[in-house]
């Protein structure tokens, strides 16, 4: 912090580079919570986002899970969407072109039943125009095959990573599951396998039961827990991985406001993603962005990188 004490005259630098993806600011959207962009265009200027991460995309179209797919829990949301999506081909043809009209990195979240699926998806997206990076979802708790199984096992996680890396030149971000004994062990293996960045966390495996019907609330029984309730777990995951693995981290899980995002940055996240908060406040991404900038000005931070992992300095 060589500039401590020097008044910041210019606006602080918020731009970050996540494994080769240049973001004009560290605020991205979390996959599955922001559709494909147009849904939120009436509320915010998409060009102001650091990046957009679109809904999980699979090789074939998916119908998704039966309703109910969502239930509110204390300060949280349990969902079991089940990766409903039009499939990668229709995604590239019908959804991707909309985003070409904007000046922002588009990161495509992919999920497969098999390692090969991931490889094919990577290849297709590598050739697609307007894709800035691939986020590998090995942590979805809401599908029968693949998903979280890959993310639970460091060896499988590495295999998926290698398969994706082998089929694309584009930056590869691997999205980690918190439902593991050691997220650091998975992160290390994924890093060795060539990932360019990590994102964390995906949802925590959870469920709710309706005491009136005496059945699970969700059509798919179990679901993934997100929202502010999981933030302490997510911040801890970022903190642990930052100290052991030398890759940029996109932190997420319960970011509702700028202060929450800064917790992730101070723990070690180079960028953040806003998920469920969009549902509560469609301008949440912009509020987070403006709040981070304000914090930097008030605290005379010229570059966001000064804050990344700053809390680690005081650790035991």
């Amino acid at each position: 912090m060589s500039n401590a004490g020097v008044k910041v005259k210019n606006r602080p630098n918020l731009s970050v580079n996540i494994g080769g993806i240049h973001m004009k600011n560290p605020v991205a959207t979390a996959s599955g919570t922001f559709g494909y962009g147009p849904e939120y265009a009436p509320y915010i200027d998409l060009n102001r986002l650091g990046a957009i991460v679109v809904k999980g995309t699979t090789l074939e179209p998916r119908a998704g899970n039966p309703a109910p797919r969502l239930v509110e829990t204390p300060a949280g949301i349990l969902n079991s969407i089940g990766l409903q999506n039009p499939g990668v081909d229709r995604f590239i043809e019908e959804y991707l072109p909309y985003l070409a009209g904007y000046d922002l990195p588009v990161i495509v979240n992919i999920a497969g039943d098999t390692v090969e699926h991931y490889a094919i998806l990577a290849g297709k997206l590598d050739r697609a125009h307007g894709v800035s990076g691939i986020e590998v979802n090995i942590s979805c708790p809401n599908v029968k095959k693949g998903g979280m199984q890959f993310g639970s096992d460091p060896v499988m996680a590495a295999e998926v990573t290698r398969a994706v890396k082998g089929n694309t030149e584009k930056p590869v971000i691997v999205k980690l599951s918190p439902n593991v004994t050691s997220i650091v062990a998975v992160a290390k293996k994924v890093a060795e396998a060539g990932a360019d960045a990590l994102s964390m966390i995906n949802t925590l495996l959870g469920m709710a039961i309706d005491i009136k019907t005496r059945r699970p609330v969700l059509g798919n029984v179990m679901g993934g827990l997100a929202g502010p309730s999981v933030r302490p777990v997510a911040v801890r995951a970022v903190w642990q991985v930052y100290r052991e693995v030398d890759l940029p981290i996109i932190g997420m899980g319960g970011i509702m406001a700028a202060g929450d995002a800064l917790e992730f940055v101070l723990a070690g996240a180079a960028a953040v993603a806003v998920g469920s908060a969009n549902f509560v406040n469609p301008c949440a991404t912009m509020d987070v962005l403006e709040g981070i900038e304000k914090y930097m000005i008030e605290n005379e931070i010229q570059d966001i990188s000064e804050l990344v992992g700053a809390a680690q300095r005081f650790s035991l």
């Binding site: 849904e39 119908a63 509110e72 300060a75 969902n79 969009n278 469609p282």
Partner: protein
């Protein structure tokens, strides 16, 4: 956006009518659309709650909602009073398709299902179009808006589960009993109410070959089409089924489209 509360009234035990000043919403609103309401200011409850647009006064820039207190979101909403602010998104979703001028229209409402249908009836009244309304409730005191609808020239048929007013039984039972099978006494049906009631009603009118629209409910996240939470099973292309978003493609769906389970 934040809207100021003009009035909040308990119209029947546990049922509230909330009027907000929201001129932009009043201008844009179509019957069948909904608002996505923030009920509290803290993280519990976290999500917004969808509530149908119940009545609109474009001149005054006012929008009214009619809701039943069932859980903590609606309970918090009911605590607000005149002068308080409430945050809302909308109008959202797809509304009802209005009938042709000369069509014989039936409106079937179960319980709080009258909420969006009243807005449709308001629109019909404005067009000098009157409808036959079938209004069902658990008990007489929960029959909402009946007087107001009659004053607007609609014919109101009443059913209560406990028989305390009108026909003793379900509103679908009353509807079935009242319409003349095979005749063309009804050209179009609009309905909203509990899932079981809608399912039964759809069976009846499909048998009779009457077209119609239903407003369905599903748990919502975003309300704007982004999260795919609010899936409603519908007949897709060919013979397949597809999940449609209640918040975008709905909440109003053609009768034949919804797959009831």
């Amino acid at each position: 956006m934040d809207a100021g509360i003009v009035k909040q009234q308990e119209v029947a035990e546990g049922y509230f009518r909330l009027t907000v000043f929201a001129p932009a919403v009043a201008v844009a609103a179509k019957p069948g659309q909904f608002l996505h309401m923030r009920c509290g200011d803290t993280l519990d409850p976290l999500l917004r709650r969808p509530i149908s647009i119940h009545a609109v006064n474009r001149d005054k820039g006012e929008v009214a909602l009619l809701y039943k207190v069932v859980g903590k979101g609606t309970a918090l909403l009911a605590q607000k009073g005149k002068g308080d602010q409430v945050n809302l998104l909308g109008p959202l979703g797809k509304g009802f398709t209005l009938p042709e001028r000369n069509e014989k229209v039936c409106v079937v409402a179960g319980g709080i299902g009258i909420a969006p249908l009243f807005c449709l009836l308001q629109e019909l009244t404005a067009r000098n179009h009157s409808a036959a309304v079938f209004l069902g409730a658990a008990t007489g005191s929960q029959l909402l808006c009946a007087g107001e609808m009659e004053r607007c020239g609609h014919i109101v048929h009443i059913a209560t589960d406990d028989g305390s007013a009108g026909f003793p039984g379900t509103v679908t039972g009353l509807f079935e009993k009242t319409i003349t099978p095979g005749s063309s006494s009804v050209d179009r049906v609009y309905a909203c109410g509990p899932r079981r009631m809608l399912k039964r009603l759809c069976e009846i009118i499909r048998l009779e070959g009457i077209p119609g629209e239903v407003s369905v409910e599903e748990r919502m996240g975003c309300g704007v089409g982004a999260c795919l939470s609010c899936a409603c099973k519908t007949r897709g292309e060919g013979n397949g089924v597809a999940y449609k978003r209640v918040c975008m493609e709905g909440p109003v769906f053609p009768v034949g489209e919804v797959v009831w389970e």
